[in-house]
């Protein structure tokens, strides 16, 4: 965390920064822009996040699939009264484009920024594209902090006029290898300028606890705010997918089993296919969906409640992509965030 407080005790004074500095257990949300120029879709998804989280991450062409630009979606969110946290990857922009976009983002009112290296384009819908990687997440943080605190561009030239000021974030994956180096890498990000960290989704609480013990031993929780990444699982298929297909993610087999058991007493998909009455099919499908979703939310709430008890964890980042309407139920059950945290109702 930088010492440059801009005169009012805050680096930028965003809701996210204020809630973290106040010591609340914070909740942030996430929104994936559409693969179209459709504004309605954003407004539809965003309404579910309004007022219940501190800020909403807007992904930057996540998984290297072309989507509406993060900064433009940020403007739409601000018009709705939602605080954005723009994500910026090093995959598609060099240092010239990143700095240029950030000057614009500040001028438009954006105050939170998550610096990422970015998913490789092999995973996306333009695998034949050229990647950039002029900077990486750590050198990007360094550059953004220098713009904010030293008022210089990466090249060293002075920024004459308003400097772009962002509350700077970075990602951390406690579940990737080499495990023992991960806390040190988090420390590098903090030293490079990360005011806050959002982790990969936690589906292995004991491993995250082990990671955080190491982070706390290094004193890193006092250098940067650490938000544990969480997500509700929607179905058994979703759990299996995350367990086996997503690199860098670890899913406790117990959660897969619980998702399987959630629909155990109900008609199986095979049995539903054999049903004749459309109404019966509809009801059976709905029952399975409700049972699975309810278990998914329950697991998510448990993980968040576990995070609350882990030393050094300042909040959670809830990634309910394509399931934004689940977030209200989650933060309500956990009693966190601006709407449901009892500590904040008195404030």
């Amino acid at each position: 965390m930088s010492d440059n407080d801009h005169g009012n005790g805050y680096l930028v004074g965003s809701n996210l920064e204020k809630a973290l500095k106040a010591g609340y257990f914070v909740a942030t949300g996430e929104l994936g822009p559409p693969q179209s120029a459709d504004r309605d879709e954003i407004e539809h998804k965003a309404q579910f996040l309004k007022g219940i989280v501190e800020s909403v991450n807007i992904t930057d062409n996540q998984t290297a699939v072309v989507r509406m630009s993060s900064i433009s979606v940020a403007v739409m969110l601000m018009e709705m009264g939602i605080e954005p946290n723009i994500q910026m990857t090093a995959r598609d922009r060099n240092r010239i484009a990143i700095q240029s976009d950030l000057l614009g983002a500040h001028a438009l009112g954006v105050r939170n920024l998550l610096c990422l290296t970015g998913d490789h384009q092999t995973f996306g819908n333009h695998p034949q594209s050229k990647n950039v990687h002029d900077v990486d997440s750590i050198s990007m943080l360094h550059m953004c902090r220098d713009m904010r605190d030293r008022k210089v561009f990466q090249c060293g030239d002075a920024i004459k006029g308003q400097e772009p000021r962002f509350f700077l974030g970075a990602a951390a994956n406690p579940f990737a290898d080499p495990f023992e180096f991960r806390p040190y890498r988090l420390g590098k990000k903090a030293r490079a300028g990360a005011d806050f960290i959002q982790t990969q989704i936690i589906f292995n609480v004991p491993k995250f606890q082990d990671f955080m013990r190491r982070v706390v031993d290094l004193g890193l929780h006092e250098e940067t705010y650490i938000l544990g990444g969480v997500a509700p699982i929607k179905s058994l298929g979703g759990a299996r997918y995350m367990a086996t297909k997503v690199p860098g993610m670890e899913v406790d087999p117990e959660y897969v089993e619980r998702m399987r058991n959630a629909t155990a007493g109900l008609p199986s998909i095979k049995e539903i296919r054999a049903m004749d009455d459309p109404e019966e099919v509809k009801n059976a499908r709905r029952a399975r969906k409700t049972a699975a979703e309810s278990e998914g939310i329950k697991i998510c709430v448990e993980v968040i409640n576990a995070c609350k008890e882990i030393e050094g964890v300042a909040g959670v980042h809830i990634m309910a992509i394509e399931w934004e309407d689940a977030v209200d139920e989650i933060v309500k059950q956990c009693q966190i965030g601006p709407k449901y945290d009892p500590a904040r109702q008195d404030a």
Partner: protein, 224 residues
């Protein structure tokens, strides 16, 4: 060394479609060592083209010759008569050889018979792995002698990223390509130099790489 692979036969046929006389010109250096464009490969390609064009009823006169090093004028002089008597040259050298031929014999077009792949190390029989991207500002002293510019899919200088699992890089579908940052970590640990990984590497100067424009080395001490 520089390694290359032969282009598909159909693509080569497309490039020589309008010619009656074709010269297949091999190179006796790097591409011979990696079995892509030496005397033997030139001879095989010439035979394939003779057969293929004959079967199509468009028989071409295919000559073959191999010089010792196609990227230097003096080695190509011996091919001058062959070049004179052909309509097009199919070079089985790397991209440097192809361009040297076009420059040296401007009256004839030399087309590439190979795709130049990179600066690779032969790691086992029939396998060449990329090791260097000639970025012009070597970082190997920082990384335990393993190059993250060439070997990390994102050319990270502060790796490893979150996609390193079980020591394997997430990017490769074959799931067998090691994460070089995992290798760097273990190498520096073995050497007792993990402290090197704690330094923040700022944005790299890519000006020395291709990003600074075409590169050229001039050694005044060697010039005549």
């Amino acid at each position: 060394m520089i390694v290359a692979e032969q282009k598909p036969l159909e693509e080569i046929r497309g490039m020589i479609a309008d010619a009656e006389k074709v010269l297949i010109l091999g190179c006796g250096t790097c591409v011979t060592v990696c079995f892509a464009g030496g005397e033997k490969e030139a001879s095989i390609l010439a035979s394939q083209l003779r057969m293929a064009t004959r079967l199509d009823g468009d028989e071409k006169e295919i000559a073959e010759f191999t010089v010792q090093r196609q990227c230097e004028y003096e080695y190509n002089e011996v091919a001058a008569d062959y070049v004179k008597n052909t309509d097009v040259v199919v070079s089985l050298a790397c991209g440097i050889g192809v361009q040297t031929m076009n420059e040296q014999f401007p009256e004839k077009l030399t087309v590439p018979g190979l795709n130049t792949n990179g600066l690779n190390q032969p790691t086992e029989q029939g396998v060449w792995e990329e090791r260097c991207q000639a970025c012009g500002d070597c970082v190997l002293a920082l990384t335990g002698g393993l190059c993250p510019i060439a070997r990390c899919a994102k050319s990270l200088l502060n790796g490893p990223c979150g996609g390193s699992q079980n020591s394997i890089c997430e990017v490769y579908a074959d799931s067998e390509t090691p994460c070089v940052w995992d290798q760097i970590y273990h190498r520096l640990k073995d050497l007792g130099h993990l402290d090197k990984l704690m330094d923040i590497e700022p944005a790299k100067n890519w000006h020395t790489s291709r990003d600074g424009g075409q590169r050229k080395i001039v050694r005044e001490d060697l010039r005549l």
